[in-house]
Symmetry: C2
Subunit: 279 residues, 2 copies
Amino acid sequence: MEIVSEAKSHGGRQLVCRHSSVATGTDMTFSVFLPPQSESGARLPVVWYLSGLTCTHANVTENGEYRAACAQLGLVFVAPDTSPRGEGVPTAPDGGWDLGLGAGFYLDATEEPWSGHYRMWTYVTEELPALIEAKFPVESGRQGIMGHSMGGHGALTVALRNPERFRSVSAFSPIIAPSQVPWGQKALGNYLGADRRAWRKHDAVALIEDGARIPELLVDVGDSDPFLEQELRPELLEEACQSAGIELQLNRRPGYDHSYYFISTFMADHLRWHAERLR
Amino acid sequence: MEIVSEAKSHGGRQLVCRHSSVATGTDMTFSVFLPPQSESGARLPVVWYLSGLTCTHANVTENGEYRAACAQLGLVFVAPDTSPRGEGVPTAPDGGWDLGLGAGFYLDATEEPWSGHYRMWTYVTEELPALIEAKFPVESGRQGIMGHSMGGHGALTVALRNPERFRSVSAFSPIIAPSQVPWGQKALGNYLGADRRAWRKHDAVALIEDGARIPELLVDVGDSDPFLEQELRPELLEEACQSAGIELQLNRRPGYDHSYYFISTFMADHLRWHAERLR
């Protein structure tokens, strides 16, 4: 693992790192913020942040406004990329931004031409966690996960399938039922094939319907989000959580959109919510 | 004036606006954050933020982490561009980033080929203030100004030459004696010509030596800033302020560099400092 850049910020250290990934067969870049409390050598709770369509690690790292809260709360913050990148990595044949580069959907593709590199599930659930634990002062028993849009989908599905690992789960504007919305249908159909049974373990609402459980969940959405009605459909998550007895705190924020102007507004609230559960 | 984008953030509204500038003879883009207190229609104090080399309005708007503090303190925050841009606007013949596009140095150029469009002094001291006052709920009697690097130079020179207009002045990593450092000598020589007497009104230390006065000044620099010794030289400002009786609070921040990771760390401190003086 190579440290690409390092800067002091809010009393801690903001790193950008690159490593050669076995899972994706490419170099992968991620960012990690080490709060000032890490200087003592103590192992700290860690919050994973999975980003949305078109993003790299850089979007939340530059625009997410998480460092002040992480420094105050003593949280390590890790932000992976959203897809493999580099020579030989295929992307959307139609030039679209909702498939291929920047749109890995946090799954292991089984279909050609994707299955060779698009293995983000293994990357974010196995390879990167092992690297983070080996290289940084994190406590694996105190992990939270959050994400935005496609990364909210990632956070929810990763948590629902690994409930023993995460003590706290939250999302901004998540895609919660990809099998039922255009972005998800395009991605899951291409990456996993036409058999919709294979989609269910990458669909938060389907996972809950099939019995996956976490105790509680914090979700914020903007009511002026242009993707709310067609792609996000938070009411489907409300129904699934209610049926399953999952305590969902769903905040519909008046006037907010899908951007980091929205995310950054409520980032500190989410991090406090995670910190309370990671104590 | 056209609103290019608008997003709700931290309870207020982050706008990006474009207008046709008489001063520069180009379209100019700037951002303005209206805190939630502006909804009442009351006129609010305004803080001007002048950006550094290579930046547009977008850098601080996306990476500056100012909105939470402005929303709490009731401050309007305006961020202009750093140079004219567009068809027919000349830039550095050597391709450098320290002259021409993104490097207007907040002065009115007198030399060819710059004098046609590079009129950022008139733009930030006359044209844009008049537009802001006409279009947004700001109180012209309560203005503060701050900036970063080349924009710190801009903030100091604008304030020193207009002390009646600004109640508060601060800077991150400012260029304070451009006549004495390579970035400044290149810019002032190109824009203003070889006669160094013309440079003095665009050099904060020279202005203070020549009698310009403001009561006090807040400056933060990182002691790991790679430009500290050659381009910034804050000790020259310390000496000038001491001789002139200007109360300078100079914070040398251990481990911090020249980036927005540094600026964002101390942004809220600066805004509180401004707000106390703008009450």
